[in-house]
């Protein structure tokens, strides 16, 4: 997609067709770590969407107003990492001091959003496609919602799997990987949509 793409196309593309987790295989760590309980999954999805939106806004402002005019587009990776790390640190401090319950629910996965390749992935996709600021924001919201959607589906399936009789060697993470593979196969059905 080039920067002439419409907002709706970008949004639907990021949610279903180029889904962050199932098509691009980014952000697998929190995907497998937080998808055991539905409530945790929703909180994590919302946190990641929020971080993606902030990160995409900030980085696209920097890209369009600083990196492009001064012709230093190659600096985007390192500057994006710096900005994303700062943003996530701020989010973590805020959650830790204002809402303890949410902090306990997310636990170790909060700092993991920093190194989450999904967040960096969204910002780099925006840079590669030369999106404007509004397009970047829509793309980030789409990416975050796609991530949340798949996280909710996965946690629903995993909650059911806990009740079933999985062979002991496959319990926990192995069967989750198999489930994710089947989900990815299912989502491949959307690939010709646009």
């Amino acid at each position: 997609m080039n920067s002439n793409a419409s907002l709706v196309t970008i949004f639907i593309g990021m949610v279903i067709i180029n889904n962050m987790v199932l098509t691009k295989f980014l952000g697998l760590c929190p995907f497998f770590g937080v998808s055991k309980k539905l409530s945790n999954a929703i909180s994590m999805g919302v946190a990641v969407t929020f971080v993606m939106l902030l990160a995409a806004t900030a980085t696209s402002v920097i890209y369009n107003y600083i990196l492009v005019p001064y012709e230093i587009k190659f600096m985007n990776i390192i500057i994006y990492i710096l900005v994303i790390a700062t943003l996530v640190q701020i989010v973590e401090i805020t959650i830790r001091r204002t809402n303890i319950a949410l902090y306990n629910a997310l636990g170790i996965y909060l700092p993991l959003i920093t190194t989450n390749c999904a967040v960096l992935g969204i910002t780099l996709i925006n840079a590669n496609n030369n999106y404007s600021i509004v397009q970047s924001m829509v793309s980030a919201v789409g990416g975050g919602l796609g991530f949340t959607l798949v996280l909710i589906i996965m946690s629903g399936i995993r909650e059911r799997l806990e009740l079933g009789e999985t062979p002991k060697s496959l319990r926990g993470l192995p069967i989750a990987f198999v489930t994710a593979a089947l989900l990815a196969l299912a989502f491949m059905g959307f690939s010709g949509l646009l």
């Binding site: 920097i62 600083i66 990196l67 001064y70 230093i72 600096m75 390192i78 500057i79 710096l82 900005v83 790390a85 700062t86 640190q89 701020i90 401090i93 805020t94 830790r96 001091r97 204002t98 303890i100 902090y103 306990n104 636990g107």
Partner: protein, 277 residues
């Protein structure tokens, strides 16, 4: 090129200032997390999960909310380390009675039975026990393939080459119970450390007597231990046909040790030295 360096530096400084501002503006850290950090300093940090909580920090958070959690889910490593234990007692304002909580794991098998054949399958106890009940004559014995050895966070279990069963070193064992869950034949038992008597037979079936044909040193169900105990601390369990020990009544007189004709009642401190009769 110069712009690149300047801009990178500028953005870095801006990010630092932003974090500083956020740190000052937001309300202070809630007291519960600070306390959890304090408790966490006295925990081993092994994250073994034996206490039932996902990691030491989660245990610290549970302890900072309710310090009775230490008695219901005891961290065995803290119990055995003087520094950590006194630190926890101080931070949580507790009095810990080590003797009451202390347990040791023991392999309840004397290791005297023969192999039925040569086993060439997957070398784990869980697999071997599914094939006709294991390759030893006694279906309740220890197989010695060592699933428990890898589970022990203190490296207290090792294989005894003479008898081909595993032995748990009572000095290193902290009684965390991870090996008890791992053993597919439930041979490992937890005994209170002030009990000092260990019963080395796991055969709990009414049908056969192990001493005849299965194992030379199995329990022959003569019940002499029951009769010998002056404090009536030993009772006979009819359904499983094994003796059961009530360690609250035991006076450590060692009468049962002398009375047992198969010599499978021994003291806890003699466990690691010799198993075979």
């Amino acid at each position: 090129m110069l712009w690149a360096i300047l801009i990178l530096t500028g953005i870095g400084i801006a990010c630092g200032i932003l974090i500083l501002v956020v740190n000052r503006v937001l309300p202070k850290e809630p007291a519960s997390l600070k306390r959890a950090e304090q408790v966490n300093e006295n925990l081993p940090g092994m994250n073994c999960g034996a206490c039932g909580y996902p990691g030491c920090f989660a245990y610290a958070q549970a302890l900072s909310k309710d310090n009775k959690v230490f008695f219901s889910n005891t961290c065995a490593t803290v119990l055995h380390d003087e520094t950590m234990l006194s630190g926890i007692e101080q931070v949580l304002d507790l009095k810990v009675d080590k003797a009451a909580l202390n347990r040791k794991a023991v392999v309840a098998c004397s290791g005297n039975c023969e192999n039925v054949g040569i086993y060439t399958g997957v070398a784990t106890c869980k697999t071997a026990t599914k094939i006709l009940g294991g390759f030893k004559r006694c279906p309740y014995s220890c197989l010695g393939l060592g699933d428990c050895i890898e589970t022990c966070p203190e490296n207290a279990i090792h294989l005894d080459i003479d008898s081909n069963i595993v032995v748990i070193d009572p000095d290193r064992c902290t009684g965390c119970g991870l090996c008890v869950n791992e053993c597919p034949r439930n041979v490992i038992k937890l005994v209170p450390v002030n009990s000092n008597i260990v019963f080395l037979c796991n055969y709990h079936d009414l049908r056969d007597i192990p001493g005849r044909g299965k194992c030379d040193s199995g329990c022959i169900k003569c019940r002499k231990c029951v009769k010998a105990c002056p404090a009536e601390a030993i009772t006979w369990n009819k359904d499983k046909s094994i003796p059961e020990f009530d360690f609250e009544k035991c006076t450590d007189c060692k009468a049962c040790i002398e009375a047992c004709p198969q010599k499978i009642l021994i003291e806890l401190k003699n466990v690691s030295k010799k198993i075979k009769v």
